[in-house]
């Protein structure tokens, strides 16, 4: 495996999902390295050594002035050109939760017409008025160009956020829908979009949007946490499922979890 994909996982300044994100990437087959934001900025770690960069979940700068805002400002100010080059070189960028919030504040999403600098969508306070930890169903848009979700149709993943309500104006929304940049939507157990219903849609996102990609599909941001579904026992129903399986005679080794499969798609992209 000498030609494993190198994945950079950002850490520092209050980010907190770096360890499990790196673990999930390793399980998926990548070589993952946790890198402090300041090591990207000061150049002691070179983005050119990586093919995938993950903006992870957490509370960067305490999220005190809007989730992901200060991280975006700091990255843009001090490493903006490196980031753009990384994207233009055909690499992948994934933003999860706080990372998604950062990508939209950086302007890497939605990235219409190659504009990776303007802010046109936002993730703001949940309608329920509180931080919420719950598992959600996601309907995946099979027509989206997103390289991370190729072949995935329906996912269950946990959300854990206070500011995940996706909003934008009607023009941007229509374009996102039209160009299939809406990658995943909050859904009910049947897989149909939640249509705003709480708690299937946990935050009041318009159009039940949980994740979007840029037009190339190489930049993807989502609120739910794929890295938190890295093991079968992360799934809330695993004890029940295990009981059913053992009665029906089947106790086959479970396939990779939905979270790992998402990371695998990113790695397959380079294969």
């Amino acid at each position: 495996m000498s030609n494993r994909i190198n994945a950079l996982v950002l850490c520092g300044y209050g980010l907190n999902c770096d360890i499990e994100t790196a673990h999930a990437l390793e399980l998926a087959g990548a070589k993952a390295r946790r890198v402090h934001i300041n090591s990207v900025i000061d150049g002691s770690v070179d983005l050119a050594d990586f093919q995938l960069m993950v903006f992870v979940g957490g509370f960067s700068w305490g999220d005190d002035h809007g989730a992901g805002v200060i991280q975006a400002v700091r990255m843009k100010k001090n490493a903006g050109e490196k980031l753009l080059k990384f994207v233009q070189d055909g690499n992948l960028v994934l933003g999860i939760c706080n990372g998604f919030q950062t990508l939209v504040n950086l302007g890497l999403l939605p990235g219409f017409d190659g504009d990776y600098g303007g802010r046109s969508v936002a993730l703001t306070f949940n309608d329920c008025g509180n931080f919420r930890d719950d598992w959600v169903h996601l309907q995946v848009n099979g027509s989206a160009p997103c390289v991370f979700t190729k072949g995935l149709a329906h996912m269950e993943l946990p959300v854990r956020h206070g500011e995940g309500k996706f909003i934008t104006d009607e023009g941007v929304l229509n374009r996102l829908i039209r160009e299939n940049q809406v990658v995943c939507r909050y859904a009910g157990p049947d897989g149909a979009p939640a249509d705003g219903r709480f708690p299937d849609n946990p935050n009041g996102s318009i159009h039940d949007i949980a994740g979007i990609c840029d037009p190339t599909g190489r930049i993807f941001g989502l609120m739910p946490h794929p890295e938190a579904f890295n093991h079968p026992t992360n799934y809330p129903d695993w004890p029940r499922r295990k009981a059913f399986d053992s009665r029906s005679g089947g106790e086959a080794k479970p396939p990779p979890t939905m979270g790992i499969r998402l990371f695998q798609q990113a790695i397959n992209y380079f294969m």
Binding site: C17, D64, I70, V73, N78, T124, T168, P236, R247
Partner: protein, 997 residues
């Protein structure tokens, strides 16, 4: 020149915070509030150009998609406007990150006296609202006058040009740091000093202190350093070190215990040594997985060959009672520093909570500082932000409501960490300081925080008086420090690490210097939040988010470079020595010079009289209560009682699966809404090995006997582990005592001797139970004085004491997490068993409380018999024979049958005539007795024979089966007396708090 930036959501967007205020105003006070828009205010006290101001406004503080902003007051319509800002010196976390962001985006360094202050403006719409209504909302929903200042504007009072004005809550002390010498010619003089300075020195300590300073050899040493009489730095240090908080004088005390029934007397010399230390040492001999106990900030157990887990628990009661949010966040963030400061440092992997408060709907005459509803809201939010923003999951917690906690609430916080067995080739559980090592303070800066909370709160507030005695934890600063210190540990740069909590530097440096045998600390080097602190204040300040680290001189440069990379402030403030002296200087001049061994020698033990009156002597007896007829309704009503009811609204606010190792979550079952018995997680992601964790609190039983409160609490915490599949041979415990004052006083504390006896009994029961169950106490803490004086209706005050309370935490290891089981029944047709026997033990039960009775037959633990059942259950789970397991806890069999049915969303058909009991019991007694030692288990019929063969007769009874129809049917022989759809059970269970989010 200061600038005031106002930011608000675009008018077409929902203001969720404002909506929350509206809902509470309606629900709590029936106020006609029609709408609320919130405005964030940033007061930027810095010289910035118009261009710079515009850059920070647009690039940082305004989201173009969602927000609008202006340096002029935003023209938002209102009937009343309430402005809320911090008092000077209160930790303003968003203010600090705003400074960081401004510096970053403008590429400048702001001068030291520049700062950003955040505040909020609430625009209230409600044409029928009066000023009194607006002030009520301001006081009861939006602010706490201990930390915040408030202004209320009517529409006519509002000047749209000036708005709230420019309010800068900067601390200005205008004080030159001064060391004061305090002559102590007599004990009376020392007493006077103690009273004046609020040192709270114990009178029995005073001669010891005076003798020390009078000792000719001590005086000779001091003269060489230019000192004569003790300095304020020295007396403050001694006061801190001798406080009950730091020194645990109560638990180290001498107790004269008398049983007033038998007349028997005995003396217990040191509760801690006798009932905690000795049993733990005995068990450590037998349990090779116990790695490190009784000396460090937290206890250490073996997780696997390469990793240890670390655990401790704390309380933060008094501060939370004053300022719920600040107290609770400071508590949880503070307890997280204990594992971080254990051994060479451990990574935090989970936290948990236990909240004890007055009834949420209390409407009696007493006036607690904060109404229990508001108190609980604040505590929940404090622990939420402290845990979530630290990136540490909070997968377990409990809440208890009781009138006794109106006087003072309890906020238990527990922390678990994981460390490698070796750090850079050295055993990670060990640490020491050596002469020559540098004393380095990392993390936050020092202010007047936490200094003499009591005196500070009685001072009159001026505009610039720091209100920092009530603290607000800063998880962001601490998370950066946590990441930095673990990297420093792995690089082998740390010799010793400990946290700054109670007593601040005086405690962390004073205690770490015992290893090397001395230290020199340069107080002028300690970084301060604002100038003007006296030397003694720097030494004892309890400012948060600080660790003290010993670093070899040769490693300092690497340590500092790493600190800079992580944007953490670290400062060399002294050096460890082997001089035998604690030596403090300021600008090169000695201000304290004390023998290191002074605090360990010659101080007298505290003494207590303890008088036990058995329940019958106190008039307790079983109630005269006939059997009820309507069991279905009774069961539903029990499920709706606050201490039983669903508290999902709290659980979902807590991130319980960050770090990716969640196995059994807080909420389980078919609808993912039932309380799990405990939690299971994989702290090492590459392994299938897991940690199992649970806690129990049963303070109600203290109304009868704290002995049985203690044994039942430990038994429940143990059963919660076993139900999940934990190995009974590897269970560690953590005891957290919260007790009302036990010092007898005929007027102020007339039942002090009884409460002291309850404490002695509880500690003895703790030792006995832990030895019997083989649970070493890995860590523990005590918090005394859980009493409050509350104003009543007529201007009188009432002393309200809490129930004698113990939270017991259990932790253990499960070799393969995939063998864990959950509480919910899984499949129709599965058999349902009750393990253990049921006795007539309803004293202080939920059932009796429901009718206002206490009763007398308190539940009792029968260790030996129970342990046989526990081992058999463990074997059954390990062999995969079981589909679900759940302990029978508060509310008894009836309530917990409902729980497992709701868990599976299946029905049950059970016959309680088959439940094993010593005597024939009445149906209500069978259903609602809280006899410990019992479980409800379900399993596939084909496993029945193998399962039953593991147990002795009388240990189990098959009482029925899981049914497809989701109805709970309970009969006794031919008499069917409960038939309730599971959905009705759930509605009842969710009724009290189901509407909260």
């Amino acid at each position: 020149m200061a600038h005031r930036l106002e930011i608000t959501l675009k008018p077409e967007l929902l203001d969720a915070e404002g909506e929350g205020v509206c809902k509470k105003a309606a629900a709590y006070f029936s106020l006609p509030l029609e709408g609320v828009r919130t405005v964030q205010v940033l007061t930027i006290d810095a010289e910035l150009s118009a261009a710079q101001l515009e850059i920070v406004r647009t690039e940082i503080f305004t989201n173009p998609v969602t927000q609008i902003s202006s340096y002029e007051p935003l023209p938002i319509d209102f009937d009343w406007c309430v402005w809320v800002g911090y008092r000077p010196g209160v930790r303003d976390n968003p203010g600090s990150t705003a400074v960081e962001a401004i510096q970053d985006v403008l590429e400048i360094r702001l001068p030291r006296d520049a700062d950003v202050y955040t505040s909020r403006r609430y625009c209230l719409a409600g044409s029928r609202m009066t000023r009194a209504d607006a002030e009520l909302i301001a006081r009861e929903l939006l602010s706490n006058d201990i930390i915040q200042q408030v202004r209320v504007f009517s529409r006519s009072e509002w000047d749209p040009k000036t708005g709230i004005g420019i309010i800068i809550p900067r601390v200005r002390l205008d004080h030159t740091p001064t060391v004061t010498t305090l002559p102590i010619a007599s004990d009376e003089a020392l007493k006077r000093i103690s009273d004046e300075r609020n040192l709270a020195l114990n009178v029995n300590d005073m001669p010891v202190i005076r003798n020390y300073f009078m000792d000719p050899s001590v005086q000779a040493d001091r003269r060489q350093m230019g000192l004569s009489d003790p300095t304020d730095v020295e007396l403050e240090y001694i006061s801190q070190a001798r406080s009950d908080h730091c020194n645990h004088n109560t638990f180290q005390g001498l107790f004269r215990y008398t049983d007033l029934d038998t007349g028997q007397n005995e003396v217990v010399d040191n509760l801690f040594d006798t009932f905690i230390k000795q049993p733990t040492l005995t068990l450590k001999e037998k349990k090779d997985w116990v790695v490190s106990v009784l000396w460090d900030n937290a206890g250490v157990g073996r997780f696997d060959d390469d990793h240890y887990y670390v655990i401790t628990g704390e309380t933060h009661n008094s501060p939370s009672n004053m300022e719920a949010y600040g107290g609770a966040i400071t508590g949880i963030v503070g307890v997280y520093r204990d594992p971080l400061g254990t051994g060479l440092g451990s990574r935090l992997v989970m936290g948990s909570y236990g909240f004890c408060v007055g009834p949420r709907d209390y409407d009696g005459d007493l006036k607690p500082r904060l109404h229990p509803r508001r108190l609980l809201d604040g505590i929940i939010e404090g622990v939420r932000d402290g845990g979530n923003k630290s990136g540490i999951p909070t997968p377990f917690g409990q809440v208890i409501f009781d009138d006794g906690y109106l006087g003072k609430c309890l906020v238990y916080v527990t922390a678990v960490g994981i460390m490698p067995a070796q750090a850079a080739g050295a055993p990670a559980e060990l640490k020491t300081t050596s002469s020559g090592d540098r004393v380095i303070m990392c993390g936050g800066r020092v202010g007047k925080d936490g200094i003499h909370g009591v005196t500070a709160s009685s001072e009159t507030f001026s505009e610039h008086t720091p209100a920092g005695h009530v603290q607000i934890g800063d998880p962001y600063t601490q998370k950066k420090m946590h990441d930095f210190l673990l990297e420093a540990r792995d690089a082998g740069l740390i010799q010793f690490i400990t946290d700054n909590g109670g007593g601040g530097l005086s405690s962390s440096v004073g205690e770490s210097a015992r290893y090397s045998g001395g230290c020199e600390v340069w107080l002028d080097q300690v970084p301060l939040k604002y100038s003007g602190l006296d030397q003694w204040e720097i030494w004892v300040s309890e400012s948060q988010e600080r660790m003290t680290v010993a670093v070899k001189a040769d490693d300092v440069d690497r340590f500092m470079a790493l600190s800079r990379k992580h944007a953490v402030e670290s400062t060399i403030i002294g050096a460890y020595t082997d001089t035998g002296k604690l030596h403090l200087t300021y600008d090169g001049k000695t201000c304290a010079y004390i023998n290191m061994d002074f605090l360990q020698s010659g101080f007298p033990q505290w003494e207590f009289d303890a008088e036990w009156r058995p329940p019958a002597h106190r008039g307790l007896h079983e109630p005269v209560l006939s059997e009820p007829a309507d069991y279905s309704r009774l069961l539903c009503d029990l499920l709706s009682r606050p201490n039983i009811a669903s508290k999902e609204w709290i659980v979902r606010q807590y991130d319980h699966e960050v770090q990716g190792g969640s196995v059994v979550k807080s909420l389980v079952g078919a609808e993912r809404d039932m309380n799990s018995d405990g939690t299971v997680l994989r702290p090492v992601l590459t392994s299938n090995r897991g940690l199992v964790f649970a806690q129990a609190m049963l303070p109600m039983y203290s109304a009868i006997d704290a002995w049985h409160m203690t044994t039942c609490t430990i038994d429940e915490a143990l059963r919660r582990m076993l139900a999940l599949g934990a190995d009974p041979d590897h269970i560690g415990g953590v005891d957290n005592f919260c007790w009302p004052s036990i010092q007898y006083d005929p007027q102020k504390n007339p039942d002090g001797k009884f409460k002291a006896a309850q404490l002695v009994r509880s500690c003895r029961a703790l030792a006995e139970t832990c030895l019997a169950y083989g649970i070493p106490l890995l860590s523990g803490k005590d918090s005394m004085y859980v009493d409050g004086h509350l104003a009543g209706r007529y201007g009188e005050t009432h002393k309200v004491s809490a129930l004698e309370s113990l939270q017991f935490s259990t932790i253990g290891v499960i070799p393969d997490v995939e063998t864990a089981v959950t509480m919910d029944v899984k499949m129709p047709g599965d058999l349902v068993y009750v393990l253990g026997e049921t006795r007539d033990e309803l004293g202080a039960s939920e059932y009796y409380q429901c009718f206002g009775y206490t009763g007398a037959n308190v539940p009792k633990v029968r260790h030996e018999r129970f342990m046989k059942t526990y081992r058999a259950l463990h074997r059954a789970i390990a062999r995969g024979l079981i589909a679900s397991a759940h302990g029978i806890y508060r509310g008894g069999l009836g309530v917990h049958l409902a729980m497992i049915a709701m868990g599976g969303n299946h029905g049950l058909s059970v016959d309680i005539a088959r439940v094993f009991s010593d005597d024939p019991l009445r149906t209500d007694h069978l259903l609602f007795s809280e006899t410990p030692g019992r479980f409800l288990v379900s399993l596939a019929p084909e496993n029945a024979r193998a399962f039953e063969s593991l147990f002795e007769p009388g240990q189990f009874a098959c009482i029925g089966e899981v049914t497809d129809t989701a109805v709970l049917n309970v009969c006794r022989g031919s008499n069917s007396f409960i038939s309730v759809p599971v959905s009705d059970l759930k509605s009842a269970w969710k009724m009290p708090f189901g509407g909260l989010i």
